[in-house]
């Protein structure tokens, strides 16, 4: 039986952020605002009209793939919508299909949406017999891969209280996927144009490097074979030299996930991180990484729903002030891990996302890297939660990066930047004279 944490006690202590949602809009419907609708759908899920099931084609029994439908809302906003969980039965939203076109209705209004098909490679296996879906999962335009399913915190008294992943990789035949298996997965995703970015992550393992040393062969192999941008979610290393090395070996974006801003809650909900790494080291490592990696590529998760909105807002302010882009996933409680605050509604959390957009913009952080992700509302998508109605320069740049040429340019620029910035110490010993 897992310990439960009462997060509500913080609820009244911190002021809620300033609201900027257009009240008229809220009265009418969320359907016309892609950011609001994305949050709504992530929180409440959708019912699916029986006639639409066949056309949608959910993940079914695919290993490793979350149940849910990937939908594209207006302004090319992707969202992964729960549709099979019990709570979706009470959702006001219904996905319907008419004449090959899809729309979502709330009973009063409707909006046309697109369906993002599940990748075909999910149904195939590596040459060693492992389903690709178990190794790589597509979220929008990137493939998330966790080469080792092991986390030393798992099933111990320092396990993160919100953790819903099966990270007990110490058992079972595939505790760790080989470099070749990961490469096969990336190649399969590439063939379907689903791997603009690769996202590698790792659980906690005791070591000074934060997991980079383990990921190094995967990073090198992916960089050698594919022109994909590569993000790594690791732990803050003991020494900043590892952050330099993380960039040098080919990582384009790095995430050290703080998860909780509030110091006390951090200690309670993430006891392992608090004890073995420390909240201050997270902030220090993020601050340093922001001086090494390109603008907008250093990020940190703050889980929405595990601490009061005011606390998350303060976290956003801290991270953006040091050049880090906050990523705000919505916490979905799993069985036995009900640690979230209540009520978690769009009205409560939408202003947090609005603040996210303003803070990122105010601090001049690029929004072009954290984009097209179906399981979170990105900072740029959050512009629809503010008064800013215009499609700004950021949106224009993002639409360029979404083209094939734009992707190649992004990769080329990232590679050039690394070539210019990284100096291997041994190079200084090479003298051109003979």
């Amino acid at each position: 039986m897992k310990k439960h944490v009462n997060c509500r006690r913080h609820g009244a202590a911190i002021d809620a952020p300033r609201r900027t949602i257009d009240p008229d809009n809220m009265e009418k419907s969320y359907l016309q605002n892609p950011a609001l609708l994305k949050i709504e759908l992530m929180l409440r899920g959708t019912r699916v009209d029986p006639g639409a099931w066949d056309a949608v084609g959910t993940s079914g029994d695919l290993e490793g793939v979350a149940d849910g439908i990937d939908i594209e809302l207006s302004h090319k906003t992707p969202v992964n919508v729960p549709c099979k969980e019990d709570f979706t039965r009470n959702s006001p939203y219904l996905l319907k299909s008419e004449g090959g076109r899809f729309h979502i209705t709330d009973g009063r209004d409707r909006v046309e949406v697109g369906i993002i098909r599940k990748p075909r490679f999910y149904t195939r296996k590596t040459t060693t017999g492992i389903p690709f879906s178990r190794i790589g999962v597509v979220h929008g335009s990137y493939v998330a891969i966790t080469p080792s399913k092991r986390c030393d915190f798992f099933n111990s008294d320092v396990e993160c209280r919100f953790c819903a992943m099966d990270l007990d990789g110490s058992t079972g035949p595939s505790a760790t996927y080989s470099v070749d298996e990961v490469l096969e997965t990336v190649e399969a995703a590439h063939r379907e144009d689903r791997a603009n970015s690769i996202y590698l992550s790792i659980g906690f393992s005791d070591g000074p490097d934060g997991g980079v040393e383990f990921l190094k062969p995967y990073i090198r192999a992916i960089k050698k074979h594919f022109n994909s941008l590569l993000a790594v979610e690791a732990l803050p290393p003991e020494d900043n030299g590892w952050i330099d090395e993380t960039y040098a070996i080919g990582v384009d974006s790095v995430l050290y996930n703080l998860e909780i801003y509030d110091r006390e809650l951090f200690d309670t909900i993430c006891p392992g991180r608090a004890r073995l790494i420390g909240r201050d080291r997270y902030v220090e490592a993020l601050r340093y990484a922001a001086t090494v990696f390109p603008n907008g590529t250093v990020a940190s998760h703050l889980l929405v729903g595990l601490e009061p909105p005011g606390s998350t807002v303060m976290g956003i302010d801290l991270l953006t002030s040091i050049g880090v882009i906050p990523i705000l996933p919505i916490y979905r409680p799993s069985a036995g891990k009900a640690v979230r605050i209540e009520p978690l509604t769009t009205e409560v959390i939408a202003p947090v996302y609005g603040h996210l957009y303003r803070a990122v913009k105010k601090n001049g952080i690029s929004m072009n890297w954290v984009r097209d992700i179906s399981i979170i509302t990105t900072p740029l998508e959050a512009r629809f939660l503010t008064k800013e109605k215009k499609e700004g320069l950021d949106a224009a740049i993002q639409s360029i990066y979404n083209t094939k040429i734009g992707l190649k340019a992004a990769w080329g620029l990232a590679t050039l930047r690394r070539k210019l910035r990284v100096r291997k110490t041994e190079e200084s010993l090479d003298h051109p004279d003979i």
């Binding site: 990284v422 100096r423 291997k424 051109p432 004279d433």
Partner: protein, 475 residues
């Protein structure tokens, strides 16, 4: 893989890194421009192309945009490609005696180092004559000089460096602060530099200069004649160097017992003189005698190569050992430089360039010597001394023709000062090694080195003016 992140603004990094490509592109454009235009009066089309190639190689040698040896390979490609010489002529120049002499000298020096003979001689001399603080510094200075008469000054500096460093540590000298530390390391560097110009063996630059001389005229310089011509410069500069060092870096320690202990331990560790050391010593001794007395009759390269074969006959070295000591880059660089020099000469470009440049400033042969020695001394502080030879020799040979001078004079006026680089660590490996110890900083070296450079120019010109005519080098 330790890495550093360069945090300078990206535009600046782009500019810095892009400069190399931009310069290479500019050079390529300049080359095509010269090739495309009509040759000026008095210059053949082949001569004009030779000058275009020369400008490209000169720029690359000065800027080090690509390694020196690779620039020479470029010259080997371009000379026949642009019709300056035929392909056959070009490659045959690579078989120049100077190239094989340099190869032989590298192998012989490798044998001396590998056998342990070099270290033993050095340690014995320092132990024998380094009884006091000044005596030890003086013995390092003279030992470095004398060893550089026989093997490359670079090899001598590399061989003596660990010993001097060990002595400095045993004496607990403070890096960057101790005067005595500075004295020891600059003595090592200057000894190598001054000794290195004394014979053909101190560095490969003299054989290169002689190689270009031989390919571009019917003249040559043999081992003995060269040493005779340079002897007063070496003696005077050693004396001046000794006094400059004593004046600028007065001894600030008292006893050197710890240094003596280090040397004693080192000698004891070497054991008795081995068969290999005896044998290599005998072969080297015979080689020197042959260079001095039979050099003119048999040729220096032939003697060097014969000694190399003898080393292998008696199994004194293995090829694998020797490969560590042969700098193939230098061999390539010299071959290319000789080809370029010959191309400039045979196409008439060297003469034309000399007429257009230094001839306008020089009015007498003495001024030619003064100008070339000055230009060489300045250039050699900033670039490889071999590259200086490659750049100035073709023009110098052309110049000697314009003034009706013996080309041997101009060759000496370039070859000798090319080795006298005292002021900067990038000038020569001996200086770089001294600075790498951290006991000497660049400022110390430059301050003392400038005095030596100016003195050496004056001394060289006085020797040329008053001593050379006595030994038959008239101009």
């Amino acid at each position: 893989m330790p890495v550093e992140i360069d945090r300078r603004p990206l535009w600046l990094l782009l500019l810095v890194k892009g400069t190399r490509l931009l310069l290479l592109l500019s050079l390529a454009l300049l080359f095509w421009f010269i090739v495309a235009i009509d040759p000026p009066q008095g210059l053949s089309p082949a001569g004009k192309n030779a000058i275009a190639i020369f400008i490209v190689c000169l720029s690359l040698w000065i800027t080090n945009l690509i390694p020196l040896a690779v620039t020479s390979i470029l010259a080997i490609i371009m000379v026949p490609l642009f019709g300056v010489l035929t392909e056959k002529e070009t490659y045959s120049l690579f078989g120049n005696e100077a190239v094989f002499f340099i190869l032989g000298a590298f192998i012989l020096a490798g044998a001396v180092m590998r056998s342990g003979l070099g270290s033993r001689v050095a340690t014995m001399i320092m132990k024998r004559f380094g009884g006091s603080s000044t005596g030890l510094a003086r013995s390092i200075f003279l030992l470095a000089a004398v060893l550089s008469f026989f093997i490359s000054e670079h090899a001598v500096a590399a061989m003596l460096f660990p010993m001097v460093l060990e002595i400095a540590k045993a004496l607990k000298l403070r890096p960057g602060k101790s005067n005595y530390g500075k004295l020891l390391f600059i003595s090592l560097a200057w000894g190598c530099i001054i000794g290195g110009v004394a014979t053909f063996l101190g560095g490969a630059r003299v054989p290169l200069a002689v190689g270009i001389l031989r390919e571009t005229s019917d003249k040559s310089i043999d081992f003995l004649d060269y040493s005779l011509a340079v002897l007063p410069v070496v003696v005077i500069m050693l004396t001046v160097g000794y006094f400059v060092l004593a004046r600028l870096f007065p001894v600030d320690i008292e006893g050197i017992e710890e240094a003596q202990e280090v040397l004693l331990k080192k000698l004891q560790g070497m054991g008795k003189v081995s068969y290999n050391e005896y044998a290599v010593g005998i072969i080297m001794g015979l080689t020197f005698l042959a260079w001095f007395f039979l050099g003119r009759a048999l040729g220096l390269a032939l003697i060097a190569l014969a000694s190399v074969v003898t080393l292998f006959v008696f199994k004194l070295v293995r090829w694998r050992d020797i490969e560590e000591y042969v700098n193939w880059g230098i061999i390539l660089m010299y071959g290319g430089a000789i080809i370029l020099g010959s191309a400039l000469d045979k196409s008439g470009a060297a003469r034309w360039m000399a007429d257009m440049t230094i001839q306008n400033w020089a009015e007498t042969p003495l001024m030619v010597v003064a100008l070339f020695s000055l230009a060489t001394l300045i250039l050699t502080e900033g670039m490889s001394n071999a590259a200086v030879i490659a750049v100035l020799m073709p023009v110098g040979i052309g110049m000697s023709g314009s003034f009706g001078m013996d080309p041997v004079i101009v060759t000496l006026a370039i070859a000798i000062p090319a080795g006298l680089a005292f002021a900067l660590p990038m000038s020569t490996p001996a200086n770089a090694i001294a600075v790498s110890s951290n006991y000497v900083n660049v400022k110390d070296m430059a301050r003392a080195g400038i005095i030596m450079s100016i003195t050496s120019w004056i001394v060289f010109n006085l020797v040329a003016r008053f001593y050379w005519p006595i030994i038959g080098l008239k101009f």
